[in-house]
């Protein structure tokens, strides 16, 4: 069985179009941060991004973010936030900016570098999670 098409041409929801990712992402962008917050990162154009995660038993339970109000950046961050719940910490580190660009088609080339910031912010939150895990292991 193949996964249903989630592009604009089909009715399977939630759709993974940039526009609908932005719409869902706007709501998530206003949500309260989750317990584990990564560092806030920025790019040369002054956009900022910070992810927060909820983690249990080495798996991501939920992801939120707080980013500049750039539609493209919000779409990329929302894609990550919808993708990662349930994933093991060590698996999601394999996600690359190129994967992100490929997974969210329809973004013009000029705006694709936003994927780099989105992913870097997500990885910063993962790094915090790994730091905390190491600290817990040392203490126990």
């Amino acid at each position: 069985m193949t996964a249903p098409c989630r592009k604009a041409c089909c009715s399977a929801t939630p759709r993974l179009t940039v526009s609908e990712l932005v719409e869902r992402g706007f709501r998530r962008n206003r949500a309260a941060p989750l317990p584990l917050q990564g560092d806030e990162l920025s790019d040369a154009e002054g956009n900022t991004a910070r992810f927060s995660l909820a983690i249990a038993a080495e798996r991501i339970v939920d992801a939120n973010f707080r980013v500049s109000s750039c539609a493209t950046l919000i779409a990329y961050c929302e894609f990550i936030a919808e993708l990662v719940p349930g994933a093991r910490l060590n698996i999601v580190t394999a996600l690359t900016a190129a994967d992100l660009v490929e997974s969210v088609p329809g973004v013009p080339a000029l705006k694709r570098p936003r994927a780099v910031l989105a992913l870097a912010a997500f990885r910063a939150a993962l790094a915090k999670a790994n730091e905390r895990r190491t600290q817990t292991e040392v203490e126990s």
């Binding site: 179009t17 526009s19 932005v22 109000s69 539609a71 705006k111």
Partner: protein, 112 residues
């Protein structure tokens, strides 16, 4: 005088005000003001889609005269056309527009 146009309302704006007034005047060098930029909201962005006949004329005159053309990013994403615009025509929001115009600021911004 330098002006920038913001095409904010829909109805008859692109097919009439732009295509039958502003654009021919620009092509004939008798518009009466230096247009430094045009920003498009909502369905007005369809004029920027590569292949649009009015857009092709606009794109040419914009290149010749150094006029910035920019589409609203969220409007273009909503219409699935963000990656289908004429070559070199960016999408963006207000920060991008102000930044792009900062080297050639208009004296007046006219909302149509």
């Amino acid at each position: 005088m330098k002006v920038a146009y913001i095409f904010a309302t829909q109805r008859h704006n692109v097919s009439y005000v732009l295509a039958k007034m502003i654009l021919p005047q620009l092509e004939e060098n008798r518009h009466g003001a230096d247009v430094v930029g045009m920003f498009f909201f909502e369905d007005n962005n369809y004029v920027l889609v590569d292949g649009n006949p009015i857009g092709a004329r606009l794109h040419k005159v914009a290149k010749d005269k150094g006029i910035l053309l920019m589409g609203c990013d969220q409007c273009c994403y909503e219409r699935e056309i963000a990656d289908k615009l004429f070559p070199g025509v960016p999408i963006g929001c207000f920060p991008d527009l102000y930044k792009a115009l900062s080297g050639n600021m208009p004296d007046q911004v006219i909302t149509l």
